[in-house]
């Protein structure tokens, strides 16, 4: 029983990353009708925003310490971060420790800006082109983005730890009288993504801007004829979608050390999530994200693997095939979207 609850929890936690990425992908597809293969790259850039903030905060000056030797036998240069010398080791250390949450503030404007530039500079010219062309150009962009990151940060993963106060484990089963321990940061990640998803939905649901965007998603032409500048709003939505991907990336860094190809690792998976949820359906994307997360967690249990060897390798694809064959428009999709 404990084991099953633990896997459900784990699935929700995994699923929250899938849901956030798929949500952004669906926002772009639903509004602009563009298949964005560079979305994984946006997630990756978000993660590297966190890395950058951490590096900036730990920028150090060097002092030669004669008592210690470096690997060549020369006197060791001891590095002290500037923030520690400005605010004292106590506060300075805390600031560096909280680099990842601080990076959120930094990542939002950056990601929105990247989104704007991408949409205005490139994607805009591809609205009328075939999906195959969109895939090719965004795939090219994804390669370029990831190679640029690799050029500056290398190919190896870079550790970006969570704040000390939010690492470690918590016994989440205590309320139910059970012993289920789970990493604190992963729980934070889950609630963070629920909050972001909630914010996006209420923004679309309860603001005038959101209403217009939803109307535009349903019928772009009519909204345009009403004299509303729908294009500008769609550009903003692209920026928001990029920011969602970026935030998912920032918060993901303590869970797994980011590397330049992490976007590609998520790309195929996020498309499967979107399709399972139903192309263009925001609630569908979220639901499918969590659902696939949970299924994936269960598939990796030894009890299940012993019955179906290798099931954890293919579970995502098996689910995708079953859903597409039995319910072609996905869990919550509208009929006829992307059928040709």
């Amino acid at each position: 029983m404990d084991a099953i609850l633990l896997q459900i929890l784990n699935g929700l936690d995994k699923g929250s990353a899938y849901a956030l990425i798929a949500l952004g992908l669906t926002l772009i597809f639903g509004t602009l009708g563009v298949v964005n293969f560079a979305h994984g790259a946006l997630f990756m850039i978000g993660a590297f925003c966190a890395v950058t903030v951490q590096r900036l905060l730990s920028l150090s000056y060097e002092m030669v310490d004669e008592s210690q030797k470096d690997f060549l036998g020369n006197p060791l240069k001891v590095k002290t971060p500037y923030v520690e010398s400005w605010f004292g080791p106590e506060i300075g250390g805390t600031i560096i420790d909280w680099a990842v949450p601080i990076a959120i503030l930094f990542a939002i404007p950056i990601m929105v800006l990247i989104g704007f530039v991408m949409e205005r500079g490139l994607i805009k010219h591809f609205y009328k082109r075939e999906h195959a062309d969109q895939i090719l150009v965004t795939f090219g962009l994804a390669i370029v983005l990831q190679e640029v990151i690799k050029y500056f940060y290398g190919a190896n993963p870079i550790q970006t730890p969570s704040p000390e106060a939010l690492s470690g484990v918590a016994n989440v089963g205590a309320l139910l009288g059970m012993d289920i321990v789970y990493p604190v940061w992963r729980i934070v990640y889950f609630f963070f993504s629920v909050a972001v998803i909630g914010a996006i939905f209420s923004f679309l649901q309860f603001t005038t801007f959101g209403m217009v965007v939803r109307a535009g998603m349903a019928d772009r032409e009519t909204v345009g004829l009403l004299g509303i500048n729908i294009d500008r709003r769609f550009t903003i939505m692209f920026g928001i979608a990029a920011a969602v991907a970026g935030l998912a990336g920032v918060m993901y860094t303590p869970i797994n050390s980011p590397n330049y190809h992490m976007g590609m690792d998520f790309l195929v998976l996020s498309f499967v999530v979107v399709v399972v949820g139903g192309m263009g359906s925001l609630p569908g994307a979220v639901l499918a994200g969590f659902l696939l997360g949970i299924l994936e967690s269960f598939a990796s249990m030894n009890e299940i693997k012993s019955i179906l060897p290798g099931i954890d390798q293919i579970i995502i694809y098996v689910v995708a095939i079953i859903i597409l064959l039995t319910r072609p428009r996905g869990l919550m999709g509208r009929k006829g979207v992307m059928e040709e």
Binding site: V35, L122, H125, R129, H131, A132, D133, I135, L136, V137, F139, G140, L141, A142, I143, V144, E147, V148, Y151, V268, F271, V272, V275, M279, P309, G310, Q313, I314, I316, Y317, V318, A320, I321, L324, L325, P328, M338, E339, E340
Partner: protein, 400 residues
């Protein structure tokens, strides 16, 4: 000729000349010169050009004609390679049965996957094929290791039970692949002054197969069957309303293109008897999509050009390193030399992916019809200039 009209015959002849004289065409620079780095006329790369050309031609029969975008075509190539290597292990080192088996098995595999996947269209079809291919890759890498030899890839060993042939040659090596005794790897080298041209038996086998495959693809494009497939692309619904069941046609196209992929896989294994699971990964499927679109989807020659383009980048650009750069720019003053190397450095060697990504974007943005369109534009431009010179006919430029 061969039941083709003039234009197609001309194209077939051009392709034939290009492939048969590839050892010359691809080796324009003298061996030992600084530019020799750009020579591509060595057997392995020439074989790859041609094999991936076949793969892309096959993919284009599906995608170019019907518009169905398969994201799992590499699976058929992988299955083809595995079947061929198994044939070498179990039956004989002759490439003919191996290639036949790989075409047959991948055809069957394509029939199975196509039958299921073609129940959907659009992006749903793409995701279905992607899912099947990724499943094949993941299983081949791990659970199916007894059949595929997993990570390492299926290789020949000294104790293969080869029914027609020997397990090991007299001097204790693994026998090599051959066509009725003609070894695939044997190469004849011709030295002309500073140039060295290599003629490889395996390459010419591949080239002949490519010509046959290309000819077949022209016939398919020009046949009533091809017309039917194009009709599916332009409006499948209307086809269905006329009471016509399009599925047999699309399925046939899917299987044919799967067999092309299997043929490519079988040839690949015949040139180099190893079958690795990475051949089936989604990135490999993505690669053939890129080749086709880059060259010009729906055109006859485009996919072959695209395949050549990508393989050239992969094999030539990745091998340029800083030492080579310094050699090239050695004539410049020191400071300038370092600066130029510094500028070029991110795009070569380990940065070849970056260059490739930029090329994709440039081609898609500026040449929506792929490289073929680029060629046509240049052709038009040249024609236009000629016409300008001849002022009387300037206004009569024929519309294309």
């Amino acid at each position: 000729m061969f039941g083709l009209d003039n234009k197609d015959t001309r194209m077939l002849i051009i392709v034939a000349v290009l492939t048969l004289f590839a050892p010359f065409i691809l080796n324009p620079f003298p061996t030992g010169s600084a530019m020799a780095q750009f020579n591509a006329g060595y057997p392995d790369l020439m074989q790859r050009f041609v094999i991936f050309g076949i793969f892309a031609i096959g993919f284009n029969i599906l995608f170019g004609l019907t518009g169905y975008l398969s994201f799992g075509h590499a699976a058929f190539l992988g299955v083809g390679s595995y079947s061929a290597v198994w044939m070498f292990k179990l039956l004989s080192m002759n490439v003919v049965p191996a290639i036949l088996l790989s075409v047959a098995i991948s055809g069957l595999f394509a029939l199975l996957i196509g039958f299921v996947s073609l129940r959907r269209s659009g992006i749903y079809f793409s995701i279905l094929t992607l899912a099947f291919a990724q499943m094949s890759f993941n299983l081949a890498y791990s659970v199916l290791t007894p059949i595929t030899n997993g990570e390492t890839g299926l290789q020949l060993t000294l104790d293969d039970p080869r029914i027609l042939g020997v397990s090991a040659t007299a001097d204790g090596s693994i026998p090599v692949t051959s066509l009725f005794g003609l070894e695939m790897r044997s190469t004849f080298e011709m030295v002309v002054g500073p140039w060295a041209f290599q003629f490889n038996v395996g390459y010419y086998l591949c080239a002949l197969v490519l010509l046959a495959a290309f000819y077949l693809s022209i016939r398919i494009f020009r046949s009533p069957f091809g017309m039917m497939l194009r009709a599916v692309k332009s409006n499948q619904q209307r086809m269905n309303y006329t009471g016509l069941n399009t599925k047999p046609y699309t399925l046939a196209a899917f299987v044919i293109s799967g067999m092309y992929a299997g043929l490519a896989g079988g040839l690949m294994a015949s040139m180099d008897p190893l079958a690795g699971a990475e051949r089936m990964q989604w990135t490999a499927s993505g690669e053939v999509v890129l080749m086709t679109i880059l060259g010009g989807a729906g055109t006859l020659i485009g996919p072959v050009l695209g395949a050549g383009f990508i393989k050239y980048f992969e094999n030539i650009f990745s091998k340029i390193n800083d030492t080579v750069l310094h050699n090239w720019f050695a004539f410049m003053p020191d400071g300038l030399e370092d600066f130029v190397v510094f500028i070029v450095h991110p795009f070569i060697g380990k940065g070849w992916h970056l260059t490739l990504g930029i090329m994709f974007m440039l081609v898609v943005v500026f040449l929506p019809g792929g490289l073929v369109e680029g060629g046509q534009r240049i052709g038009k431009w040249v024609k236009g200039r000629k016409n300008k010179d001849d002022s009387t006919s300037a206004t009569k430029t024929p519309a294309e």
